[in-house]
Every structure is written in structure tokens, then in C-alpha cells.
Symmetry: C2
Subunit: 133 residues, 2 copies
Amino acid sequence: MTGDFLAIGELGRRTDTKVETIRYYERIGLLAAPGRTAGNYRAYGSEHLNRLSFIRRSRDLGFSLDHVRALLGLADQRNRSCDAVDAIAKEHRAEVDRKIADLHALRRELDNMIDQCRCGTVADCRIIDALSP
Amino acid sequence: MTGDFLAIGELGRRTDTKVETIRYYERIGLLAAPGRTAGNYRAYGSEHLNRLSFIRRSRDLGFSLDHVRALLGLADQRNRSCDAVDAIAKEHRAEVDRKIADLHALRRELDNMIDQCRCGTVADCRIIDALSP
DNA sequence: TATGGACCCTGTAGCAACTACAGGGTCAAG
DNA sequence: CTTGACCCTGTAGTTGCTACAGGGTCCATA
């Protein structure tokens, strides 16, 4: 695997992606199947590197694979308005907000519970109490 | 299904749990298998109702099934110190804190990205830019 | 007594988004 | 010519359910 092409392991190192994950992305049609070498190794070019970097970055930002798929599709239609991109990002942000709110509420409840524990026996444990019906 | 016993559907209604979920909990050994009626229906008693309520409450607080399993085990040893219970709760709280922090960081990044979008064409979309390598 | 509908049974497959093998083939260095 | 790092396919596991398919049971009503 010399010259312009990358083996899957090298692509993985450059994008901080596990080899199995790359193959998985290919299987579900997120990353185009690359050409093969004589020995049937996948041979990736720079377009794959770019594409996978985009995917990884989107995933790091918490977008679902469905959202990533949509973003990739939109990114290719250079002349379109980017409203749809904006909409996906905002929808995602709203969901992140919901999750944060949920976790804050959860945290408050956990705090209440833990604060009341006097660490005696289980029989008079306030945490167990709080969980019991 | 009269008297002291509950059919699975009734147990589900009382604990706000889907029937399939109850059977799932039984399958993975989280909820003890109840007796059966002549017609092979599961017949739950009040101990199952209490147990499942405990499970649901723990799940609502975000404990993993493994944690719930541990908490159930501890809840039964009434004479033990409740340190282990406390430890599980605090570990869980720490994880919730981590998740909150992660989501806050994520939210900031999303905000930056979305704020820069001038909503022109995809070709000069800042969101796509931000995702691209 | 028959029948309809609500309920129950088991078993299996599906979801997200990977991850981890098993059991093999390829390639380059020493 | 062998060793070890890499690659291949295919399948099964993870978490916590959820959704069938294809049947059996129970009870009220006609």
C-alpha cells in the first residue's frame, strides 16, 4: 500500500477510528467502498480520508448516524441553501439541551438521596428507602 | 387472576412497565420468576410489585441494570453497613456529572457553529466548514 | 353453547453504534 | 522461509429494551 492510497489501519490511525468501525460504516453505506489492491486490501484515497474525518467530527459533536448521513448528503449539494443544515444542527442542539435539563434534574434527585444517608446499616439506609416503594 | 395475585398486565399498569419489559427482567434474572396459574399465566404477589417498583425507580434515576442488581442485592442484607449503597450512588452521581460536563462542552461547540451560519448556500456554510477537515 | 375480544404464552428478531472475536489470507523484513 | 503485523469475511456480543408471529386462555355476551 504505497503512494496515494491508505490501508484501512492507516486510515484508522489518521482519523482516530477503529478498523472495525470503518468497515461498519462501509457496510451501512455511510462511507463509500474503496477500491481494492491485488491482495484484496481496501485502498483509500484522500476523498475517503476527508469523508471519514467529516463523519468523525460530526459523531464527536453527538450527531446520530442518520443525521451524519443527511449532513453528508447536504454537504455535496454545494449550490443549495444551507437552511437544512442549520435545521439539523439546531434540532440536535435542542436535543442536547433536553438531555442537559434531564441530567440536572436527575442530579438533584441523586443529591437529595445521597445527602440523607447517615451510613448506618442497610435497614435504615435513606438511599434504599428512597428507592423502595 | 383474582385475590392476591396480579397478572403481568396489571403489574405492568401498576408500575408503569411494559409487559415485555417485565418478562425481560425475569429472563435476565432481575425479577424473580413468579408462580403460575393453572392456565400458565404468571401470578405476581406483593413482593414482586415491591421489587419491580424498586427497579423502576432506580432506572428512572439512571442506574444501569447492573447497578440495580447490586442495589437489590444490598437492599436484602438489612444488617450490613450501607457504605456499598452509598458508593454505588456516588459513583453514579459522578458519572452523571461527567455526562453533564460533556454535554455542556458539546453545547458550546454547537452554539459556536450555529452562530456563524449566515444561511447562504451550502458552499459557504460555516456549519459544513466546521465539520469538514 | 358458541364466539369475540382482551389478555397471556414462547421464541425470535430488531433498534443504535459499535466492538470483539474466529478462522483464515497477504505482505515485507530478516 | 519464517515471523509478525497487517488485512479479509462473517458472525455474535454489548445495553435495555421493543416488536412481532403464532399460538393458548379466560370471561362476558348473544
